[in-house]
Symmetry: C2
Subunit: 349 residues, 2 copies
């Protein structure tokens, strides 16, 4: 799933080249890292990438090992449920018993070996009839930026999967503390494993119009009607996430808990937290001079950046726009993008 616009990463992330396509850690893009990470268990020819059609070229450029026909362009953004429906009908056509691993393209995983082991376990569970499996992250602090999954610790399955009791939205601080203390709440990673036919069956029950739209489209796969049929399916679908649309309503939902250095890298603060720092706690990239400065993330672009007497600030410089943001305010960068949209400054978004 590579269709997001990453507005919390403005100004480096733009509509023309969002977060998943940029090198927030100066290596591969997050999308490329996701492909590389999965290579030991899923080869490129069995990897589908669903993205907005405007990013299809960018995706092809960045993911050259993936066959062109595996890059699925969405005509409009409709959140994750239609995206997953599209991939599911494609996979089912390739193999009626196909198991899907559903991954956001813009996450970070530090312990890739552990991560793949968790996915292997989840794949075994997902082969049980009708099972929907989600990957839960053992929380390390009372995060308010993630949704949570409560599981039933008494009902351990073989392979380390547990029955899910409930999904919870992003909590406030007190609730997050309670979740952490309870011991049976996990962070919702947004990573799922299931058979393509199982998720489509659940859509038939819980998201009927979306299901009907894609079942209709699936009859045209592989014909010259395919693009038009998919376009129709998207316009007929509901804009809803798979979590809200299916997971919160379905029975037979399992979670495999894991701890593998995961982050959804939700904002610049997360990039800072996950980066190697110098002895003053600074993360400095490009041509940067600092003086009496600590705990800053500075991404210089083409310009020299001098920072004097500044602490706990993120600086991101690009050719046409510059962001200066306190580490505690990085979630609010989205507001800047909203403002730019509202005031017709389209050049900058």
């Amino acid at each position: 799933m590579a269709g997001g616009i990453g507005s919390r990463f403005w100004p480096q992330s733009r509509e023309a080249c969002p977060k998943q396509f940029i090198n927030v850690f100066e290596e591969q893009s997050l999308l490329q890292q996701t492909l590389t990470r999965m290579a030991p268990i899923v080869p490129p020819e069995r990897t589908l990438v669903v993205t907005h059609e405007r990013y299809a070229d960018l995706t092809r450029e960045q993911l050259s090992p993936i066959p062109e026909e595996n890059i699925l362009g969405e005509p409009i953004s409709r959140n994750t449920a239609p995206c997953i429906a599209y991939a599911a009908i494609k996979l089912r056509a390739m193999d009626p018993e196909a198991v899907m691993i559903v991954l956001p393209a813009d996450h970070l995983v530090k312990r890739e070996d552990r991560f793949l082991n968790i996915l292997r376990k989840a794949t075994v569970v997902a082969n049980k009839p009708g099972a929907l499996v989600t990957i839960g992250i053992q929380p390390s602090y009372p995060a308010t930026g993630y949704g949570y999954i409560q599981y039933d610790p008494s009902e351990s399955e073989r392979d380390g999967a547990y029955r899910v009791r409930t999904f919870a939205e992003k909590p406030n601080e007190a609730t997050a503390e309670r979740f952490l203390d309870s011991g049976d709440f996990l962070w919702n990673s947004g990573i799922f494993v299931w058979r393509a036919d199982a998720i489509l069956e659940n859509m038939q029950t819980h998201l009927k119009s979306t299901w009907r739209a894609f079942e209709e489209a699936s009859r045209h796969l592989g014909t010259d009607q395919e693009d038009a049929a998919i376009r129709q399916a998207y316009y007929k679908s509901t804009r809803i996430s798979i979590d809200v649309g299916i997971m919160e309503r379905a029975s037979n939902v399992y979670v495999v808990p894991g701890r593998f250095g995961w982050s959804d890298i939700g904002d610049w603060r997360a990039v800072y937290d996950l980066s190697d720092k110098n002895r003053h706690g600074n993360v400095l990239r490009g041509n940067v001079i600092v003086h009496d400065t600590s705990r800053c993330l500075v991404n210089a672009g083409k310009r020299l950046v001098a920072v004097v007497g500044i602490h706990d600030v993120v600086v991101v410089d690009t050719d046409d726009a510059l962001l200066i943001c306190h580490q505690n305010s990085t979630q609010q960068v989205k507001n800047v993008v909203d403002y730019l949209h509202a005031h017709q400054h389209k050049d900058f978004v």
Copy 2:
């Protein structure tokens, strides 16, 4: 006097175009403001500008009312004593009884009418034989960024001038408090009024080598030897300020105290303090978006600048360099320029 390099105003002030030539308040340059301010009492044809010869063209461009021959280029920077000696021999050649008003080109004066009245008083005093007159600023707070002048309040002259007791260097905070409480200390503005022959006589006594060098050069004024002679004089002169070289040593020194909204605009903080602010205490120039931000000075260049969750910070963006500096650290901007010099980043200074 327009020869400074204004390194505390990096990155807007560069060696190629220092502080006095830029529009720190978005109007005229400080140099142009200085000429305009003096126009009611000194016409352009009687104004000399002494600057480094590399700034002669820039000065001509900015000060078109001034005759070209009134722009005096210094071959090397030697602080204010040689600069004033140069102007003094030129003026004496034009009029042996000439009175000089010596003004730094990069100061701000908010009450120009009061300022001119003070200068008129000082000019009267300067006509007394041998008198050296300086303008002192009634201090409004215990500044540590200015030198001080102690005067003798018992010996008031007519025209509001007082005998100077002593000059004091920039004090520490405790001393500055004491100076303020004493009531007989003024800020040293670096503005002087005297007859050209009087300052040259004092140089003969207190700065003999500089005096001899310029007296030698003065014999070649108006000939085709003038430039070479002046060049020689500069190389033979001592690098010293007029304050240290003459004023602290001379007798017959007077001060005229005044209060006319003066600032030497020593750093970006001073620009912030002297600028009109919006209701959040921000001074925003150019294409700037702020969110949860207060008491900031933001000078956007050609780029959009977004500032989120930031307080008490100066941001100055230019084509090739960007400064982000806490309001309490603006004096340290000079260190950045020193660093750039030391590390051969000449393109940025």
